[in-house]
Symmetry: C2
């Protein structure tokens, strides 16, 4: 019987939703409307791919996935803050995200900036508050992992390179830098944080990192492809945006067919990395398979 991936993703996304809602409650003591603004974007749905990748890795390595929910949710907070700031008029100037008005369109630029800052800061607060006894060293490693992946040598660096590349004729190296760092680093960190949480051995961490690196790049190329051929209604956002902004994308640089081929090759490579692990990797395979075949 094939693994019921859609059911799996649905139940895990719901668990993430519940814990996000509990970690950042509507009645959080703070001056209005900052908690509301943070919740507006944090609880706007989304596929919760990053926390689910973290939880799936924990489960694959035989550790209770529910105990990793706060750590997994901290990754989603980082992801959400980056979307809020990316959407700002000073950056990509987007009005819609996941079919809803963007944060600054609802709360204004000042609150949107602060809501992003707040989520970024809260991610590290949550991690520092959820280290079980004896887990202090692992939790510090997780904080190191998340800060490096989301910092100027990771996600922020990718965003800087992306902004600089707009409207220019960039190299393939620039395209790869942007994809690796803007999206890839946080996806890889999601898997690595799960592995560190579950106490993975170095060679296991290494195989899982390779799986995540390949999957992350495949995921981003698929994202580029969907911007060209995707269904606007299913995606919940405008398509053709990258071309309008003259963004560097895989289809723009390599063509559509070659991009589709790259996704397939990377997916196979990610499966090969999983095959090195002495565990049942059904879930991680199924997630990869789902992500590269998604239509939204």
């Amino acid at each position: 019987m094939p693994f019921a991936i859609e059911q799996y993703l649905k139940t895990r996304a719901q668990a993430v939703e519940d814990v996000l809602n509990r970690l950042l409650p509507a009645n959080l003591q703070s001056p209005p409307p900052i908690a509301e603004a943070m919740r507006y974007s944090l609880l706007a749905g989304g596929k919760r791919i990053r926390p689910i990748l973290c939880l799936a890795t924990v489960e694959t390595l035989g550790t209770d996935w529910q105990s990793a929910l706060p750590a997994a949710c901290s990754i989603e907070m980082i992801h959400t803050y980056s979307l809020i700031h990316d959407d700002l008029p000073a950056m990509d100037n987007d009005d819609y995200r996941r079919g809803k008005l963007t944060n600054h369109k609802v709360f204004g630029d000042a609150i949107a900036i602060l809501a992003g800052d707040g989520l970024l800061t809260y991610a590290f607060q949550i991690l520092s508050e959820h280290a079980a006894d004896g887990m202090e060293r692992s939790m510090l490693a997780i904080i190191r992992e998340l800060s490096r992946a989301s910092g100027v040598q990771g996600m922020i660096g990718g965003q800087v390179a992306d902004i600089r590349a707009e409207g220019r004729k960039g190299s393939k190296e620039t395209l790869e830098y942007i994809h690796k760092h803007k999206t890839g680093d946080l996806l890889t960190a999601s898997v690595r944080i799960g592995a560190i949480f579950a106490g993975a051995a170095p060679h296991e961490l290494s195989a899982l990192t390779s799986y995540a690196d390949k999957l992350g790049l495949a995921f981003q190329i698929q994202d580029d492809i969907l911007d060209v051929v995707g269904d606007q209604a299913k995606l919940g956002k405008q398509t053709g945006v990258d071309a309008t902004l003259e963004k560097m994308t895989y289809p723009a640089v390599y063509g559509l067919q070659e991009s589709i081929r790259k996704v397939r090759v990377l997916t196979e490579e990610s499966f090969a990395s999983l095959a090195q692990l002495p565990y049942d990797t059904t879930i991680l395979r199924a997630i990869a398979d789902f992500l590269v075949h998604r239509e939204s």
Copy 2:
């Protein structure tokens, strides 16, 4: 012989400067101009009050202050990011800071937002990378302290309340909320982080927290007073700005004389808290004394 506070502050500020410069070198591998933008604001001088308060607390409790330099510098990174974001056109829209053009005036709004995000993230990275063996539990407590003090229930919350209060007739409670959180929380955290680093006992942490709370409020009222009576050249920034923006300040709410009296009372109270400690608190007294008598 009186304690040579100016000499002390100068040498400690230089030590902070050196370590900031080493932690965030000009050749940090990252896409231009993000490292340059972060360094522009981080190394723009300033009194380095927060890291120095941290180091002075460590020294007062008998621990090697130099070992606390990375932790102290992480506080300055948080402070600097908050200034960059506060200065943005969407927030206070300031063109000058410490006598230099603000970050977004030099690098543009997008890079300024990302430079702030980068410094905020880097602060936690630095902490997670500098836990000596056996210090893991303390370092997690320090990360907890810094994230809480700078988050939506701390500094960011104060900034939200400040933005909301502009141009309105606010209550004394609002004024106190803004002062306590926007500036006070990070100053108090600076002392508490030093205390946690040095392994302070609970009652010592409590006395030091009280010292820092009083000093923080006195410092902020003094800041408000200088905006009314200060010398623009000495301050390196425009005075009278608060009144123009109809910001809530102590002189505006309580009058100048009562504000000056409050600073004196709070300073005495901060000294009384120090007197509860079984240590030579000369340095912490001298810092408080210096800060409330400063002209810039």
